[in-house]
């Protein structure tokens, strides 16, 4: 049995002279929630559009359930539900009618509309015109459209964009319940690390069209480097002493120093060295950087030309 729901192989696409997506290899396990993370303009939407066959890659291919999208477009898209950026809705129709428009295209049962409305909790508002819907309701209706054909894989591009905190919470709760409830694989793009952290089991980080990291959330955590934050009476002297001994030191605000050091032994060594040099150490604490810091570190390294 193939456990890969979605795979991209060397996916590349340029617009004019600009490479928007550069040799992307993605591997999304069936039943996972994959968070596709990157700042605005990183290439997330372009990648998603290629996954849906909306734009053609210059190089590479998209494989869904082991089949190539370019040669099995219709059968593959029959198993995919998607919400790309803002939902595609007809404001002059009701929520129900919007779903009916797509149901007629898909040829599925009317029961699917009832189910989809139930999942996104829009049953009561189904017969109101969409132009009267709030942003959150519109987004949920967009999700219902994506779920209408009972897809195997759901592709969501920035699904909480523009929503208020309550809308974001609702949407997150809906998405989180999907894999457990119906075994759907969710591929979700976002520029918010906290969002991906809350919803995803696996993460891919893209920046300037290149993949910087791909793996489970636990692997991403393991990627984080501990550091030792310390306060001393003469920070610049301390930095010089530590650097001479081969430590990587970063000067921070409020005369604090941060040293790339791991574990208690390193902390003890740093302390001993500084005390031996006659410096007064006020405090030492080991800190785990947040995922956000890790993300920015990765993207900064990428900008500087370093490898992740």
């Amino acid at each position: 049995m193939n456990h890969t729901a979605l795979e991209t192989v060397g996916l590349t696409r340029s617009f004019g002279g600009l490479i928007a997506v550069n040799n992307i290899h993605l591997n999304v396990e069936a039943g996972s929630v994959f968070g596709f993370l990157g700042p605005n303009g990183a290439g997330k939407t372009t990648t998603i559009r290629m996954m849906l066959g909306l734009i053609k890659p210059d190089r590479g291919r998209v494989m869904l359930f082991g089949e190539d999208l370019s040669s099995h477009r219709i059968s593959i898209l029959g198993q995919v539900g998607a919400l790309v950026e803002t939902p595609s809705l007809y404001n002059h129709l009701t929520g129900f009618e919007n779903l009916e428009v797509t149901r007629r295209l898909l040829g599925c049962s009317k029961e699917n509309i009832t189910n989809a409305l139930g999942i996104v909790k829009l049953t009561d508002a189904a017969h109101r015109l969409v132009r009267e819907y709030s942003l959150g309701m519109r987004q949920r209706l967009g999700l219902a459209l994506a779920l209408l054909n009972r897809p195997e894989i759901l592709i969501l591009d920035e699904p909480t964009n523009g929503l208020d905190p309550a809308g974001i919470r609702e949407m997150r709760a809906l998405i989180k319940q999907l894999p457990g409830q119906s075994g759907i694989t969710v591929f979700l793009s976002s520029h918010l690390l906290s969002e991906v952290e809350q919803m995803a089991s696996h993460v891919g980080i893209i920046h300037q069209g290149r993949m910087l990291f791909q793996g489970s959330l636990a692997e991403l955590h393991a990627h984080q480097h501990e550091r030792l934050v310390l306060g001393v009476d003469r920070p610049s002297v301390a930095a010089e002493v530590l650097t001479k001994q081969g430590w990587h030191v970063h000067q921070e605000e409020n005369n604090r120093l941060a040293v790339d050091a791991h574990g208690q032994k390193d902390a003890a060594s740093v302390n001993a060295l500084l005390v031996r040099e006659g410096l007064e150490v006020y405090y030492l604490s080991q800190q785990q950087p947040t995922l956000e810091e890790t993300f920015f570190k990765m993207t900064d390294e990428s900008v500087a030309g370093g490898k992740p």
Binding site: L77, T102, L106
Partner: protein
Amino acid sequence: MKQLFAALSSESLKLKRTLALWMVFIAPFIVILLQFFILFDRAKFFAGRDVWEVLMYGVTSIWAIFMLPLFITLETALLSGLEHSGQSWKHLFAQPIPRWSVYAAKLLTVMGMILVSTLVLVLGEIGAGKLLSVLRPELRFHESPNLTMMARMATMVYLASWILLAFHTWVSMRWKSFALAAGVGVAGTFFAVFASGARIGKFYPWLFPVNAVSTSPERMKLAILLGIIGGAIIAVAGCWNVVRRDVE
């Protein structure tokens, strides 16, 4: 074929509560109303003439040279505008149906709408004549109209307009701008007024509908032939162009 019918069924639902649907009835009604008042107001001038023919030629001329080309421009722009404004192309083209069926359904829907308008126009002519027979008995509308002639003229105008239907469907789907789609249609119709007297006028697409009821058999046949063949070519080329493009 099944997928095309599914796409057509989906398109028909989108028309609910739209101006585009109302216009199917309003556009021919305006032309009928105009010709009705001309005959009503100048009954003495038209008395003694074949008033059914006056009504028929009057309605068909206004419809073919002016209203129909602008109406096609408006309907195609409104129908595509539903997708542009709702950012729905990406949703439609990501569905498990052939891409060509999305384009074909749009074109066939607007062709169907114009056909219904043509039917409304013919029925309106009959209705206007019947009403005038009561309000202006001196016009002798009580005689039976030549229904075959009426239907034939309407059909010829409709067939000759296929080239405009195909062209405007492509323009409105290809470009997001309503102003561009409307501008092309208005410019095309505007120049038709000047081209009508020129020899080259028989090859000017915006004149095909009116040429289809020309007294010159050569001009008439050419208009219908080029309208249908040109329409088919543009429909295929337009579909090929749109379905191969990146979807915004």
